[in-house]
Every structure is written in structure tokens, then in C-alpha cells.
Subunit: 281 residues, 2 copies
Amino acid sequence: MRSGPQAGDALGIRSPRVKAARQLAKRAFRERARSFLAEGPQAIREAIASEGVLTELFVTGQGRSRHPELVEQAARQGAGVHEVSGEVMAELAQTITPQGLLGVCRFVDQPLSSITSAAPRLVAVLANVRDPGNAGTVLRTADAAGADGVVFAAASVDPYNSKCVRSSAGSLFHLPVVAGQELAAAVGELRAAGLQVLAADGSAEHLLEAAGGPDLTRPSAWLFGNEAWGLPEELLALADSVVAVPIYGKAESLNLAAAAAVCLYTSARQMRTGRTLLVGE
Amino acid sequence: MRSGPQAGDALGIRSPRVKAARQLAKRAFRERARSFLAEGPQAIREAIASEGVLTELFVTGQGRSRHPELVEQAARQGAGVHEVSGEVMAELAQTITPQGLLGVCRFVDQPLSSITSAAPRLVAVLANVRDPGNAGTVLRTADAAGADGVVFAAASVDPYNSKCVRSSAGSLFHLPVVAGQELAAAVGELRAAGLQVLAADGSAEHLLEAAGGPDLTRPSAWLFGNEAWGLPEELLALADSVVAVPIYGKAESLNLAAAAAVCLYTSARQMRTGRTLLVGE
């Protein structure tokens, strides 16, 4: 199955393998193949670390000479390694500089029970987050904040969108990611697993860490909505509390990823200190 | 000077005014004219709120019918209002949907003394931040966190880059923005104004809010570097303390804008509570 590692075997742009990989830029084809593209050495390294995820690796001569260990590890795991020219790589890749490595990976999302059965303390739920860069950044931030999983719910972007994969900077491979969830059902299961449900919304009555707000030392699932729309009434109604990040200056609002960073790190810190210092009004 | 508000007067793509405005997509032309482009109703509203900033407004028929009050206010301030077709607007705008309004604005940056003379308590300094989306998001987040100014230093992106203007979501017009600073000199002046200088770097010895770190209830200037490179040794050496946002999960690092959100909001909160709860190791 594996093509030889010699430059002479380089696959052309019309090769069926290259064509099949190119199609994975589209969601419908990804869902049919249950596979997605990961670009660049960092993503390939993370994919290799999850045994059985990487199925094919496209590599340019330069990519091979810069990252020989990744090419070797991929081959050892049984991934098909295909040499391609820089031109073919440019056709395959969504980034300008994929650094000579592009992999086909099996979907890594898991059922919601993989989160709820593991005594979760911090979960991020994306509700109608359409911007793939924002979604990937929230995934990366949730990973950094020690979250137990990230749920892509309602009409959120596909986590395998190439920009989302790239923005996640490897975090897609680090923690349980759950995709395609209906929001109300997911919220019900997370609550049944002992999490309070907090919705982040700029127009909320409660400010983060102000008197009267929720106890952030408790295990929590945070709902984050589409930046432009915020969370609609019916989603806010699903939450135990709706909380705003305070705006001390003149900005109308925060970028979604920045708001999520503040909320998730506030929860992470309060769970670790076990205490709250309220910010006076 | 003002062209008439009738659709019949619409300027063509070859009109000198349209050509001059198009050139402002390039930094060299912006610096020569000391003017930049602001797109969409939110930015135009903010520009109008700063008297004398908006000098010209290009508007489509649809833009005028959706935002008649903005067109009227612009004209009342003496800005030249120019009707253009959707095609000309598409040529002028950097976004796909500028919503029919695009303005030419005078530069709004200020000297560093506008920050240092006003008893600052929180300042963000961008050092070699090249990505305009990240820079604009940090500017917006600093505004939200109540910062007293943002300094674009060293080889950072031009704050008037269209993507930076857009990502700032109006914050470019809200608080003192200082551009084109040499970093060591700026840091010296900020320290002389009573600010401790904190560098955010993922590889730092001190973790945010851990024992042994800096006192975040004190007025602070935060240095944020290019995400990929971090802060080089000679810039880290300029800081009183180097601090990392703790990584509780498997992520290698945070996105620059997310790290800045956590650092700036931690400072804002500690200054308001006047106390620190240390996160145990």
C-alpha cells in the first residue's frame, strides 16, 4: 500500500490519492471519508502521537529533509507516505507555507459520554460558533486552561475545518472533542454529570467574580456563542447562570476567543484556589 | 469641497478621490497622507465621535439608506461625502461586506507622553507583533480591560493596517494608541511614569498569580511579543519580571491574544480587589 520514499515516485496532481486528499478541503467529503487534513510539522507530530490517527502523509523533498523523524515515524505506524512536488503540496494545502508536510487523519471526535463519564470539572461548549479561527482558538485555550473536553454544538463550525485545525495548534488531538451535538441535549447531559451550566454573554446581569454571581469554584460547563449574535434567548434559558466579562473601558464587547480565555482561566484559577475574591462594583 | 449627496454624482473607479483612497490600503501611502481607511458602520460611528478624524466618507446607495444618520453627521462635521457604486466600494474595501460605508480618517495615534502624563495604571505594549488580527484583538482587549493606552513598539504591525483596524472593533478610537516606538526607550519612559514592566512569555519562571511572582495590584505595563518567536532575550531583559500564563492542559502555548486577555484581566481584577489569592503549585 505504501508508496516508496524516493523522490522519483512523486505523485502528480492528477493522481487519485492527491485528488482524494484535495477533496477533504470540503466538509461533505470529510464526513464521507471520516478523515481530515492536518498541515505542518506540529499537527503531524500531534497526529502521530495519537496512534492510528494518521493514515497518509504527503511530503515534499524539503519537508522530508527538514523532518526526517516525522516521515519515519509515520511510515512505521503504517501511514502511506507519498512524495509530492512543491506545486502539488501548494494545491493540497490551505496555508501558504505548510512546511512540506500534510497528513490525512481519521476523525478524532468522541461521544459526549467520553467527557461526562470522566468526572469533568471544566468543559467548553461552542454554540453556533461559525468562525473557524475563533473556534480553534477557544479549543486551544480550553486545552491550556485544563478543560476536560470541548463540545461543538448547534450550528458551530466543523472542528475539522482546516482553519479550525490550524488555530487549535494541536489541541484537537489533546482532549476529548465532541462534534455535531444538539445543544439542549448536550447541556442536559453535562448538568447530569454534575456541572453547573454558565453562559457567557456580554449583556448578562452578573459580572464575572462580582457579588451575586455563580460560585466559580464549582465544576462548570461554559457556553460560548457566536460573537456577533451572542447567545439567543432560548440558549440563555438553558444555563443556570448568565455571566458577562466586565468591560472597564469603552469597548462594546470582547472578541469571543478573548472572552472565553478570561472565563475559562477564571474558572481554572478559582477551582485551584478554592476561593473567590469578589471584585467590587 | 463636498460632492453632492445624489446618486447621480457617483464617483467612478478612475476618479482621483477613489484612487487616492485606494492607495491607503498601502502603508507607505498611509504614512505620506497620515490617513487610513475605516470600514463599516461601527468604525464610522467611532470616527465621527472623535471630532475632526473623519475627512471623507464613501457611501453606496444601500449604505446611505441603512445609515442615513451617519451620512448626515459626517457631512455636518465637514467630511466630504461621496456616493459610489457597489463595484467601486468593493474595490475600495478590504472586507467582503463593508456594509456600504468606508471612511478616510486622520491618524489618531498620540505621543507616549499622552499615556505617561496621565498617571497610567495599565498599559499594553506590543513588541514585534506582526499579525494585524492579533494586534487589533489585543488593542480591543486592552480597551475592555480598562487600559490607559496601547503602545505599538519595535517592528509591530502598523495600527492602521485594515485588518488591525477591523479587529480592534472601534478601540483604535477609544484610548491613546502610540505607534512607531523604539521599545527600550518606551519601556524606560513607562517605568519612569511609575509602572512596573512585566513581560508575558510562555517559558517564564514565574506563573501568573503563583508565589514569588510580581505584585499585580501595582500599576503595570505588559509587554507582549510575537506569538511564534516569543520575546527575545534582549526584550525580556527590559522587564522587571517575566511571567507565564499557566498551562494546565497539554497545549504548548496560548494564542497571543488569549494570553494577553488573561494577563490584562488578571491585572485589572487585582487592581480592583487590591488583593491576590495565590494559585498553589
